[in-house]
């Protein structure tokens, strides 16, 4: 066990830091410090392309597909420096963290060559079409259908919670390609271009007043017959594999965002005197500890993953960060007091911390609710009996 880095790794850190500093104090100074995922979308695309150009977009990917073949330690270092430099969240995080690794694992050589470099170069932005209204976290309930017509797949149905769809070039869609099939059988994993008449993206307004998520409608949408990952009917397997990619090095970047949020809470507490309140101090200490434990938990998982071992602790990560952030939102409001409940002007748009309080209620829901996570932990990690489907007597 070792937490420190070698001199070679520290040299890599210096190189990454220097490049980031030059860009973010130079041509990309305008996106520095942004925390929202969606602000200034055009400049965010420029930034994605700039990262790709310089080989800093997907550092852990093979060089052949536009990556840098970076070791785990280097990936960790890059994530740290990226955040330290105030670089903005990645507009294409679904492409980088979900679509890319899934194509790498399940794609043909042609698919890899077609899609991966375009992601690594920051040229194609992705979103995901998983959830459906009425299906929630239950993937086996998918009702979106697709069928072959000539050299194309035709898609009909509706997805929901498709965040970033308004900025995306591609969406991956789980659709039922076997008529009459039920549950996890008969599903396929399709890659579909967003910019076509058969695809309509409609924003969903959230309790924050913003609209980060979307509903996406497929009404005779089309994609080339080759744009399927795995064979027809393999959709469930591919989708389950994908779940395993949700906990990569990007978690460390995410944690840097959490760090900024916690720092803002601490600053507010110092400013208004709540930092002296013993009850608030305890909760801030809990948040500090929780954040560190996310970091070291992630390093444990990543070290094991690099060695080819799955650390069952990985299954606990989603509920950990989602709950941590929800607690932080409540703490933020308790620190701000009533002042956090109003904003000048007529627009229903709150500053970062009150917005965190509202937004973080979604964290424990999307991407698998806390309840689904507990089922998964109990069943897969602890070996307890599966939750039965269907009617009970």
């Amino acid at each position: 066990m070792k937490l420190g880095f070698s001199p070679e790794e520290e040299a890599f850190r210096a190189e990454a830091a220097a490049w980031l500093k030059a860009e973010l104090e130079g041509p990309f100074a305008d996106v520095r410090g942004l925390t929202s995922l969606t602000e200034m979308p055009e400049r965010r695309r420029d930034w994605e392309r700039r990262l790709g150009e310089a080989g800093w977009s997907c550092v852990g990917w093979p060089k052949a597909y536009g990556g840098r073949d970076a070791t785990l330690a280097e990936q960790v270092i890059f994530a740290e420096e990226y955040a330290r430099a105030g670089a903005p969240p990645r507009l294409n995080h679904i492409g980088i963290e979900l679509a890319g690794p899934t194509i790498l694992a399940f794609g043909t050589d042609e698919q890899k060559a077609r899609f991966l470099p375009a992601i690594a170069r920051g040229e194609e932005i992705w979103c995901q079409g998983y959830s459906e209204p009425g299906a929630g976290s239950d993937l086996a309930n998918v009702r979106t259908r697709a069928w072959r017509e000539g050299d194309e797949w035709v898609i009909e149905g509706q997805k929901v919670w498709t965040s970033l769809a308004q900025f995306s070039d591609w969406i991956f869609v789980i659709a039922r390609t076997e008529e009459g099939s039920k549950g996890p059988k008969g599903l396929s994993f399709l890659l579909v271009p967003v910019d076509q008449s058969g695809v309509t993206v409609r924003p969903i307004h959230q309790i924050t007043g913003e609209a980060e998520f979307n509903e996406t409608f497929f009404d005779g949408a089309r994609t080339d017959a080759a744009n399927i990952l795995g064979a027809p009917g393999d959709g469930w397997t591919v989708a389950m594999g994908l779940l395993g990619f949700e906990r990569g090095v990007s978690t460390l970047a995410q944690q840097m965002g959490f760090r900024n949020e916690l720092d803002a809470v601490i600053a507010a507490a110092r400013a208004n005197g709540e930092a002296k309140n013993p009850l608030i101090r305890q909760r801030i200490a809990r948040a500090e500890i929780g954040l560190k434990l996310m970091r070291y938990g992630a390093l444990r998982m990543l070290t094991d993953a690099e060695g080819g071992r799955l650390n069952p602790s990985a299954l606990t990560y989603k509920i950990q960060w989602a709950t941590w952030r929800r607690d932080l939102g409540e703490l933020a409001m308790d620190v701000l007091g009533q002042a956090g409940e109003t904003v000048a002007g007529h627009e229903y748009a709150f500053p970062a911390l009150p917005n965190l309080f509202l937004y973080s209620r979604a964290d424990t829901i999307y991407g698998g609710t806390n309840e689904i996570q507990r089922n998964i932990i109990a069943e897969r990690a602890l070996g307890l009996p599966r939750e039965p489907r269907g009617d009970l007597k």
Partner: protein, 358 residues
């Protein structure tokens, strides 16, 4: 000793329940949210047709002459629908302040108009809710009050200043009202600025503030109770309809247990609210303890239940379109307004004798 509604109280509860269910609909509330945070037709119906606004105001002053139990009953039912009404501001805070601290002339002049709903009042408390302070000097008020509930739609303000309690009328010279966009749009706040405004003062400021806070705390606690119960009822209904993994989600034991925990808390909150209401009405020694307990417990319960409502509804519970966020935001407003649960518990700790010598 009879700790259940009398027949008359049960009738009031039934009336209030039906009234709010029929009138305080989501559509109307949302229309009010986009406007001033007051459903004016609802206010008219509540004060006029129903005639319940003066429930806790003596009959001689135009009210119904009942007490805190009845006030809690309608605050609970209004809370059950996050009704967009200035109930708390006008009847839970301003009216009791005038009733307890006003001169006979002030009471006779103002309370009948509050009871009839013709006049809407609000209340600004010094040293609570971030008030930066306001001071009286020669019947003139200077300073500011932040976060005054329904401040932008009130006609009259009872302002607890550093050195007295003033009555300020909308439109007075030097008096500025700034509406604020508020997280809970059904209870919007406003900022008040007093630039040497000529005011009248209340005769007994101490009694006025004590009555306003006591009644306000109770009204908030009752609102929280009604809100929490609505969160539970709606979530139970949803979990019975909603099918996931081929089963109603209400058949999952973890969901059942969490709904049960909500009920356990709500039943305690109910005891707290009506205990406090009775204790105030009966001038019991326990009244102060009870109302702090009710404010702390009912608000925590509401916070918990509204959070669970969103969580157990899944994605839909997080949309603007669903009502869950109205409860969630009202719960926050209730918890932070006029003393947090921690602050009220600290008062209980004092009353429990923790500061006495060993």
């Amino acid at each position: 000793m009879h700790f259940a509604f009398t027949d008359e109280q049960a009738m009031i509860a039934e009336t209030a329940k039906t009234f709010f269910a029929e009138n305080a609909t989501s559509e109307r509330t949302r229309a009010a949210m986009a406007d001033t945070g007051v459903d004016k037709a609802l206010w008219q119906a509540f004060t006029g047709d129903l005639g319940l606004a003066g429930v806790a105001i003596p009959e001689a002053l135009g009210g119904v002459g009942l007490g805190m139990v009845e006030l809690a009953i309608f605050a609970e039912e209004a809370g059950g629908h996050t009704a967009a009404l200035p109930l708390l501001a006008s009847l839970g805070l301003a009216a009791p302040a005038i009733l307890a601290g006003g001169t006979d002339e002030q009471k006779a002049r103002l309370l009948p108009r509050l009871a009839s709903g013709e006049l809407v009042a609000s209340f600004a408390a010094v040293n609570m809710g971030g008030t930066p302070g306001a001071a009286l000097s020669d019947e003139t008020l200077t300073g500011a009050a932040l976060l005054v509930p329904h401040g932008a739609s009130a006609d009259l303000f009872v302002v607890a200043a550093d050195n007295g309690v003033a009555i300020v009328e909308r439109g007075a010279l030097g008096f500025g009202i700034t509406p604020l966009t508020s997280m809970d749009q059904t209870r919007p706040y406003a900022r008040l600025d007093f630039g040497g405004v000529a005011v009248e003062t209340l005769a007994d400021p101490r009694a006025a503030v004590r009555a306003a806070l006591t009644t306000g705390w109770l009204a908030i606690a009752a609102d929280a109770l009604g809100g929490a119960q609505a969160c539970l009822d709606r979530t139970v209904a949803y979990t019975q309809e909603r099918i996931q993994f081929g089963r109603s989600i209400g058949s999952f034991q973890a969901v059942k247990h969490r709904l049960a925990d909500m009920m356990v808390a709500i039943e305690q909150a109910r005891s707290a609210v009506y205990w406090a209401a009775c204790a105030i009405d009966e001038r019991s020694d326990e009244a102060a303890f009870a109302v702090h307990a009710a404010k702390a417990f009912a608000c925590d319960t509401y916070t918990h239940c509204a959070g669970e409502m969103i969580q157990l509804h899944g994605g839909i519970g997080f949309t603007w379109e669903h009502d869950a966020h109205l409860y969630f935001k009202r719960a926050r407003s209730n918890a932070s307004l006029l003393g947090t649960p921690d602050w009220h518990r600290e008062q209980v700790a004092g009353l429990a004798g923790l500061d006495e010598a060993a």
